[in-house]
């Protein structure tokens, strides 16, 4: 009743180090752009606004509605946040929400937080804002309809990315995880779409000024429409393909070099007993030794600092 963990929050341990780090890099780069953009384009008013909006998303995730058989639908909020706050601010707000969920409730891990932010905060915001923005001049009905589709797609995109990451980490089998995750989230996404649409309808009715065309310039708008559209297409085409023909996807990944050809299963991305990336070579042993020395150096440094600090 207080707080229910959502199935998209990956805990630590379920993603390999490599996948976690790659996701962190992507997330950090995007957030860096988001930060420099918000710092530039938004006024000082924006700090309390984004902070309270983050709390709003957190609280809104607790609003549920009974569906059937004791289950209930509720909100993820990425698309909604981006639509009402703009994409960059929406991303920062979702990042704060996901960080607090991980730090305070262990809902989602720390090392895999990059992946969680990517799946639930960045991609959802891009889809939500991009698609909504593409119909900015249209009638209210069209806007709401598109917002609903965007909300549903944003959940599907999150689920798809999560599945792919789990598969690349060797935690799940592609042929099972994709249909399972997408199936469940097709339903969860409906709840997301319904709440997002009626929340937007409420805002359009009471404070339409807040949903004005926003602070983004027309040119930046085009970029978002493109980004949102591309990600959506990716989701729309990849999902059925991956569900129907997982082996095909694996072959594609092999051809693209994501998975080394000839490997029977992707979990060997981090082989045992050697350092990642290097293989069983003399080089590996040397690097391992170097790391050992570095660690000892760090420890000595810390002890030295401790002696100097004198509590």
């Amino acid at each position: 009743m207080f707080y229910s963990p959502a199935p998209l929050h990956i805990p630590d341990g379920f993603l390999s180090l490599l996948v976690s780090l790659v996701c962190w890099v992507v997330t950090a780069l995007t957030l860096g752009a988001a930060i420099s953009r918000t710092n530039k384009s938004l006024g000082e008013r924006q700090i309390p606004l984004m902070g309270v909006m983050a709390a709003f998303i957190f609280a809104a995730q607790m609003i549920n509605f009974p569906v059937a058989g004791g289950t209930s639908g509720h909100l993820l909020g990425g698309a909604l946040a981006a639509i009402v706050l703009g994409p960059w601010a929406g991303m920062l707000v979702m990042t704060a929400v996901i960080a607090v969920q991980a730090l305070l409730f262990q809902d989602g891990g720390l090392l895999v937080m990059g992946a969680n932010i990517l799946n639930m905060g960045l991609v959802t915001a891009a889809i939500g804002y991009g698609l909504f923005r593409s119909v900015s001049g249209s009638s209210k009905t069209v806007k709401l309809g598109v917002a609903g589709v965007a909300a549903w797609l944003s959940v599907m995109a999150g689920a798809l990315l999560t599945s792919l990451q789990l598969w690349l980490s060797g935690t799940s089998q592609l042929g099972i995880v994709i249909p399972a995750m997408l199936g469940v989230h097709a339903l969860i996404g409906l709840g997301e779409a319904l709440i997002t649409v009626s929340a937007l309808a409420f805002i359009l009715q009471t404070r339409p000024d807040l949903l004005g065309e926003g602070s983004e310039s027309a040119k930046a708008g085009k970029g978002w429409i493109l980004a949102g559209g591309l990600i959506s297409l990716f989701v729309v085409f990849l999902s059925p393909f991956a569900s129907a023909d997982p082996d095909g996807l694996e072959r594609v990944a092999e051809n693209l070099g994501f998975i080394g050809a000839g490997q029977s299963a992707p979990f060997e991305i981090i082989p045992d007993y050697t350092l990642p990336f290097l293989g069983e070579t003399a080089l590996s042993t040397i690097v391992a030794g170097a790391i050992g020395i570095a660690v000892v150096a760090v420890i000595s440094l810390l002890v030295g600092r401790g002696m100097k600090a004198r509590s």
């Binding site: 309808a201 009715q205 009471t206 404070r207």
Partner: protein
Amino acid sequence: MPVTHVTNQFAAPECGGDVLVVNDLRFSYPDGHSALNGVSLKLCEGDKVALVGPNGAGKSTLMLHLNGILNGQGDVEIAGMRLSRENLPVIRALVGLVFQNPDDQLFSPTVFEDVAFGPLHMGLPEAEVRSRVDAALEAVRMSAYRDRLSHHLSVGEKKRIAIATVLSMQPSLLVLDEPSAGLDPRARRTLINLLRDLPITMLVSTHDMKLVQELFPRTVVMDEGRVVADGLTSEILEDEPLLNAHGLEKP
């Protein structure tokens, strides 16, 4: 702080058909804080009763039990029906609960939608819903506000709409939690007149002793999760030691 518990010192007025019977109700919050320690209370058809007591006395907690939002040990009977899992929906239609902050009560964009929520959820046919909404808005003298946005009303107006949202369910018992908090004197006066005119049994919690004096023939005093006094308002408001012991003040 030591508090003397004066029970049944005042004779409660006699009555026949009970609208509400609470018997030895006990409740602890999940964190272990016991908020109700054996509350017993009876309300008759047409009674208008004030519920007073210091912060944390358990007034709101008691009110949340009256339509089963919280479930303690002990009996709650509404109009002769014992509150239980099966008849929860019926009881919720019989007990109209109005919370302190009207903003919590009004979650729809327009006044009409908000007042229609209860009847719609009860599964009533559309024509009936419409006539109930009209009657409820009429009762709080807000018919002209039917299509306004709840969000833009003043606190006093919101308060009256909040009362209409439960009147439209035609409850047998109206339960109001601190209805006059945050109102300016004029809005407060309007509210008092409204409550006086409503021909319905009501239990009203408040810190506003002047309101108690003006409106309610009977007063129940709670402290530390117990009923410490229950009787005629005129007598209770004269009992200085009782008032002082429970953090109250004469109006």
